[in-house]
Symmetry: C2
Subunit: 405 residues, 2 copies
C-alpha cells in the first residue's frame, strides 16, 4: 500500500476522503455534556462502534503550537512554534510567532499535496492560515477572510459561495460554523483526499460545558460531522487544547500578575515575562492564560528565581528551560529562561496595567497549562488494532490514515 | 475579648450566631455558574461587599478527612482521619474510618460547647454525625436519621418538626436541603452561638456546574443562606472538596484498575490497593476516586514500584509515604506505603470485578486528587485585614470568628 513519510513518521495514502477536525478549546466535557443533554445525536451514535481516546495536547496548551503539531505530526521541538507570541532574542523584539519563517518542519498536508493528493484546509481565523497552508498546493482559506480569497493565494475563487452563509464577525460562533459549512461543501464538490478544518474557541472561552450556548455549539458541530460522515468521509476530531474556568466562586478572575511580582522583587528591568497566548484577538481572554515564560537578566540566578516563583499562590510549577524543553518537547531558543505554569483555576498576567479586561463580558475561562492538556481524539470508525500508548492530539493524522477500519 | 484555644489555634467567642457551612463537592464553578445564570441572587449580591477566597482542601479530597479538618481546624496529621476507609495494619483489616476512636483531636465545636456556647450540628449522612459530634454537648443529628433522634443521643427530640419536610431518601438533593431547612429553624428557635451544617454531594456527582439540576441545587442553597443572613448570622461557606468529570468525551469513565495492574506485575498477594473514597454509600460514584494508597509486601522495593506506577497513563503522581505525609500533612500510620493520585479526568479503581458501576446512571464525576483541591471559602461579611496566605478550607472557623467585620 502506498504511503508517505513526513517528519519521520509514515502515513498511508487516504483510502477515502479523510477529514481531520481541530475544535479549538474542546475540553472533552463539552462533548460529554452535549451528548448527555441529547444535543449531539450523531456523536452519541458513535459510542460502541467508533473510536474515543483521551489524548494529551502540547503544552503550552495554546492554538498555534497545537495546530502546527497536528498538521506536522510533531512536537514543537521539531516544528518550532512554541506559542502564539515570543521574545525573539536575535531581533530583540516581542513578536507574533505566526509567520511561516518560524516553521521548521513541513506539514503532512503539503507532503500529500506534493505527492498528488487533493488537499483542502479551512480555518476560522486568518492568523493560522499562512502557517497551515505553508508550501501547500491546494485550497486553503480562513472564514475570517473568505470574502477576499483568490485562486492564486487560496486555490479557490468562490469561498463565500461554498458556505452559503454571510461572512461572520471575527468574535462569533458563526466563524467556526462557516468552517464546517465550507468544509462540507468542499467535500461534496471537490472530493478532496485530505481535509483539515480548524475552528476558534470564542464560544469555549465564554461558556462552560453543559450550558445552553455550549450545547448549541456542539449541536452545530454534530450536524456538520453527521453530514461529512454521510458523505463517506473518515473523520478524526481532536482539539488544540482544553478549557477551564479561571475564576473564584464569584466569577472574578484569579490572576498572578507575574511581571509586577518580579518587578517588586528585582526592579523593573531585571526580567521579561512573555505571555505566549497573546495574539491580535485577545478581547475574549484578555491575553490571560496559564502559561508564561520568563527571560532573566544577567545578575539573577534563574534556579533561585524558579524556586521562589513556584511558591507563589496560584502557581502550579516553575522550571528551568532545560527541564521545560525535556518535559514539554519545546524548542529551547523559542522560550525564555524559565517556564511558569499556573494552577487549574488561575491565569498568569504580566503587569496589571497591560491587560484590558473590559472586553470580558463573562467570567474568564482560559487555557495554556497542563490542566488543559487532555483533549478528545475521536474517530467515526473503529480502530481494531490500536496500540496502547500515550496518545497525543498530533497523532490525529496517524489515527486517521493508519489505524481506522 | 474572650477567646478559646483549640488544637493550638485561638478563636474569638462568637459575637453573633455564626454558621459554618460545608457544601459537599462544591467546586467553585457551581457557584459561579449559578450566579451567572441568575439562579443565586443572594450570592450575587455578596460580590463587592463580602469575602470570597479560593482555598485548598485536604488531599485526599474526600468527605471525612475534610469535614474533620474543618471542625478541628487542623490537617489529618493532627486529627488522624486520612480517608473514609483504610487498612488497619494492627487489626489487619480494611475498615471504615468513621468511628470516633480514630479521632486524635477535639473539635472546635466541642470546645466552645464545653466553654458554655450553644452549639448545633446538622449533617446529611449519619456516617459523619458521630465524629462531628464527638464529645460535644449540644444538638447534633443527621438528615438521614432525623426521624430517630433522641434528646440523650442528639440533644433534640423533634428534628422532623424543625425542617417541615418529609424525611428524604439517602440518595437525593433533598437530603442536603433538609440540613439547611433544619439549620434555619434551629437558628430561629434556639439562637445557637455556633452552627455547623454539612451536606452530601449526591447532586455534584451527577451534574456538572451550570447544568439545570446543578443550578437548581445552588438556587436552593442560595435561598436558605439568604434566610440565615436575614436572621443576622455570620456565615462562612466552604467545601470538603471540588468535583471533576472523570470520563472521556463519550462519557465513559477513565479508570486505572490499579490492583489489576499490580497483580499482573507482581502476583495477587504482593500488594494491597486501598481506595479511601469507599464508604457505605457508593452507588453514585462506584467507589471510584482520584486517590489510592498501596500497601507493599516484603520482597518489593516501594521506590521502584512508585516510579513505575507514576508512568501509567492517567496517573498524575505516585509517592512514598514520607513524601505524601510531608506534602499532604497525613498521619503516616493511616496510609499505605505509597500514595497514588490520578489525573483530573481519571479515577483509580482496585480490581475490575470489585466495582459495581450499574448504579452510575450519569457519566462519572468524582474527586479525591489534587485536581479537586480548590474550593470556595466565602463569607457574608467583609474581612478588612485579611492576611495574605495560603487559605485552607479548615480555616473556615478562623475566618468566621477571627476575621469578619
Amino acid at each position: 500500500m502506498r504511503s508517505l513519510a513526513v517528519n519521520g513518521r509514515r502515513y498511508r495514502w487516504p483510502a477515502r476522503p479523510t477529514v481531520v477536525v481541530c475544535v479549538d478549546g474542546c475540553e472533552p466535557e463539552y462533548l460529554n455534556q452535549a451528548i448527555s443533554a441529547g444535543s449531539a445525536p450523531w456523536m452519541a451514535s458513535l459510542n460502541g462502534r467508533a473510536t474515543c481516546l483521551t489524548a494529551d495536547c502540547v503544552v503550552p496548551s495554546f492554538t498555534n503550537p497545537n495546530n502546527l503539531s497536528i498538521v506536522t505530526g510533531t512536537p514543537p521541538s521539531v516544528h518550532g512554534i512554541a506559542g502564539n507570541y515570543f521574545y525573539d532574542t536575535e531581533a530583540r523584539a516581542e513578536v507574533m510567532m505566526n509567520d511561516p519563517k518560524y516553521l521548521r518542519a513541513g506539514t503532512i498536508l503539503a507532503a500529500f499535496a506534493d505527492a498528488g493528493a487533493k488537499v483542502a484546509v479551512v480555518t476560522a481565523k486568518d492568523k493560522l492560515r499562512t502557517m497551515l497552508g505553508h508550501r501547500m498546493k491546494g485550497i486553503c482559506f480562513s472564514s475570517e477572510k473568505a470574502d477576499r480569497v483568490t485562486r492564486a493565494e487560496n486555490g479557490i475563487a468562490d469561498a463565500m459561495a461554498l458556505a452559503e452563509m454571510p461572512l461572520p464577525p471575527v468574535y462569533s460562533a458563526e466563524l467556526s460554523e462557516f468552517v464546517f459549512a465550507a468544509g462540507c461543501a468542499l467535500l461534496e464538490r471537490e472530493r478532496p483526499d485530505l481535509v483539515y478544518l480548524s475552528t476558534t474557541d470564542y464560544v469555549q472561552h465564554k461558556h462552560a460545558p453543559g450550558t445552553p450556548a455550549a450545547n448549541a455549539f456542539t449541536a452545530m458541530l454534530d450536524r456538520y460531522l453527521a453530514r461529512l460522515d454521510a458523505l463517506g468521509a473518515a473523520i478524526v476530531l481532536t482539539a488544540d487544547h482544553g478549557m477551564n474556568a479561571k475564576t473564584d466562586a464569584f466569577g472574578r478572575p484569579n490572576i498572578v500578575f507575574l511581571q509586577d511580582v518580579l518587578d517588586r522583587w528585582h526592579g523593573p528591568d531585571a526580567t521579561r515575562v512573555i505571555l505566549p497566548i497573546t495574539d491580535p484577538y485577545v478581547v475574549h481572554h484578555g491575553a490571560l492564560g496559564s502559561f508564561a515564560t520568563v527571560h532573566v537578566g544577567n545578575g539573577l540566578d534563574p534556579a533561585a528565581l524558579c524556586r521562589r516563583i513556584a511558591e507563589l499562590p496560584g502557581i502550579d510549577s516553575a522550571m528551568l528551560r532545560v527541564e521545560a524543553c525535556r518535559r514539554f518537547e519545546l524548542p529551547p531558543d523559542r522560550i525564555g529562561d524559565l517556564v511558569v505554569v499556573s494552577e487549574r483555576l488561575t491565569v498568569i498576567g504580566s503587569r496589571v496595567d497591560r491587560h484590558d479586561l473590559s472586553g470580558l463580558d463573562a467570567p474568564l475561562r482560559s487555557h495554556g497549562g497542563t490542566s488543559e492538556q487532555q483533549v478528545p481524539l475521536i474517530a467515526n470508525r473503529s480502530a481494531p488494532d490500536l496500540p496502547t500508548r500515550r496518545w497525543r492530539n498530533f497523532d490525529a493524522f496517524d489515527l486517521a490514515l493508519n489505524h481506522l477500519a
